[in-house]
Structures are given as structure tokens and as C-alpha cells.
Amino acid sequence: MKHLIILVLAFACLSASRTDPKEDTNAKIKAVYLYNFSKNVEWPEEYKNGSFVITFVGNNSSLLSELDKMAAQKTLGNQQISVKSVSSISGIEKSHIIFVPFESSALLGEIITKIKGNSILIVTEKPGLAKQGSAINFISKDNKQAFEINKANAEHYKLKINSNLMKLATLIE
């Protein structure tokens, strides 16, 4: 009888075990996208040595922790992946990708000025930013994670985007 009483309580109290912010599904999907972006964009030769640096503008994000996990497990050719988070934009020009999260979107203009002359893929996640300088902008489409590409913004930084990536993107001019 005691066993049954315990079970009755369990029926009433099962909890949302995975609504835990540590298990952020959107962050995991974005991390997988970012890894795919890294593999499907070609950087100039001088960027193919040393660590592959992903700079995250901001902190305290579940995406940042997903990127750390990814960096610990994966490489890009012979390049180790290094993820760094910055609270200011000084020193960000030593990056391959700069990810600008939604809450740091206002810094995009400054970032663009700062990285002039470098080959850096700017990835954002606020509607409209692909028209304001980012090469790839995360959007949601039909309840799913999707992305826009502004090819001209990529080419401006001497980056070549693979046609596979282009096919799956919403193209922005």
C-alpha cells in the first residue's frame, strides 16, 4: 500500500525535467549551425593557421556554453577551435567569426568599424541585421531556426560562402 501511495504522489508531481535552462535546445541548434558555417565558408590562406577563433560579444549565455562544448570536441582541419567571450570590442579583430547575440546588436556598427580590413564572418541574430552589415543572420522561420545570408557582406570581408550554405539560406541583398 505504501508503494502505491508513493506512486500516486508521483502521478501528481512529475516535473518538466527538461525545461532546465542548462538544456537550451535553440542554443544547441545554433552551435551546430555555427560549426557548419565554419566548414562552409572559405577564409583567405593567412587565416588557415593557428586557432580558429570564435568571438562571442557578451557573456552569460547558454550558446556560449554550447560553443565551449563544441570547441572541446571538434576541430576545423588542423585548426583547434577557440571560443572567447568579450564584454568590449577591443581585440575582436583577431577572430574568424564574431557572433553578436541579440542583446549586443547595438554594437554591430562599432564592430564593423573595428574589424575593417580583416576577414571575419559576422553572425547576428536580430531581424534586419543582414542588411546592416552582418554576413549571416539567424532568423526563425516556421517555428524553426533558419538563417539569412548577405553574400555581398561576406565578400566585402573576402569570404567565400559555399553554395550548399547559400541553397539553404534566405538570401538578402
Binding site: M1, L4, V8, F11, L14, R18, T19, N36, N143
Partner: protein
Amino acid sequence: MKNRTLLLLILFTGSVNAQLDKLREAYLYTQSDKLNLDSARILIDAACKYPETKDDPQAWYMRGFIYKELFKKPLPANREISLGEEAFNSCKKAMEIDSSVEVKNNNLLILKNLSAITNNTFGGALDTVNYSKSMECLELQKKLIRYIHPKASIDSVEVYYNGIMGSYFQSVYEKSPGKNMNYLKIAEDSYNKVLIRDPSNISANYNMGIIYYNQAVSLIMNKLDYDFDLASLNNIQEEALSWFKKSLPYMEKAYQLNPHRKETLIGLSGIYYSLHDNEKSEQFHKLSQDMDADQK
């Protein structure tokens, strides 16, 4: 105890003949000093076939008692439901032969005891090996409740036991998500049985929402690898999306039934977040935080 006193009265005041001696002997084998239920079973089965005693309500009552004891003897997971069924059928037979209040009351006492044992067996057998026994217990319990309380709703019995079955298998599945889909299916089927009978059952609605939500989360967090190419990533997203969408109406129903349950608010915030509806996700997140603030 009352049962046994009545048995003694019945058995030792009857006319003396060979078959009644068998009944007495069978009874004596149920007593602690001479306890031998297997011998009692042989004797009572024979007595219920003899022409002199086969229509004797006392014999059938006795049979019900002995089979009930046989059913109860092992640990719950080892009990044979067929023995419980025999006990039930024997008491029913006794009451069919003699519809007097005394016979009815005596047999109903056995049946009520049998119902408690069945309830205990349901819980005791509820594990991943013996769960089919728990399902059989539910069927026996429904028959017993129908007989003991003819006006009681069987729906409430289904809701009660299927709710327990669902939450047990849900919790087992959640320990290793994606590993044994059969457990998930049992949980899902059990909650569906609850919801067919009680669509406003908050726990079943909420838990169905959680089952589907966790399926989607598990798919993304455990199956999606960083190496997945864009096409595979898209497929995983599609599959997860269908689980999230399946989860939403159950969680919304749970919210509609009780808008002040924090777990539901957190669940809805999580589902809308995963569906990229950040406005609604924030709305429910804020409601759950307000609830925390109210409680401080």
C-alpha cells in the same frame, strides 16, 4: 477475524456428513496451527464438485476464502492473478446460490479484502518486468469494484490506476531517454486512457505535454551532433518541431485547468521558446517568476 468466526459457525452447525467433513478439513488447513493452503485447495475444489456440496453456498464461500488466501500468500510481484479471479468467481457463485443478506455480507467481506490485496499487488508488481501483472490487476479490480459498489464509476478506477501506470513508466523512460521506446508508449497509452475518461485531468495533460516536450529536447540535446550537416540538422529540427507541437495543446490545457501551477508556466515558457515564439515564452516565464515573488 470476523470472517473466520462466521466460517466456524457455518461449518460446525451443519448436519454431519462426509462432504461437510471435507469442508471442515479444508477450513482447518487455513488455520495457523495446521496451515496448508495447497491441501485446503485440493479439498475445497473437490467439495465444490461433489453432488452433495456443489450447490452449497458455504462450499463456495469457503473456496473464495481459500483462493483469496492463496492469492495473497506470495510477495506481490509473484502473485497469480488467476487465483484472485477464482476467489472472485467463487464468492459470486455463493451469492448466486443464496441471495440472503448474511451470505451476501460474508462474501462481500472477502471481496473487499480481495480488492485491497489486488490494489497492493498492482503497486507491488509495477516494475519493468512484472508490469503486465499490474495491468491484469486493473482488470480484476474493475470487476471487483463493479460487484462491490455497483453504482461506483469505473472511469475513476481507470483514471486512478492508469495515472499511476503512466507516471511510473514516464519516470523510468526519463532515466534513459530514447533507450526504451516501449516504456514511453506505455506511459503515453496510460495517460490517453486517463484523458479519454477525464479530459480535465491536470496531471495527465501536463505529463503528456512533458512526455512530448522531453522527446523533442532529448532529440536535440542527445542525438544532434555538432558534425551533422545542414540537411541532417534540418531533419532533426523538423522531427523535434513535430514533438514540440504535439506537446503544446496538452500543456495549454493544463494551464487552462489551473493557471496558477508553476510547473505548467515553466513548461509553456519552454515550449514556446523552442517554437521560437519568444514573446509568449517571456510572458509565461514572467508569470512563473511573479509566482516566485508572491511566495517570498
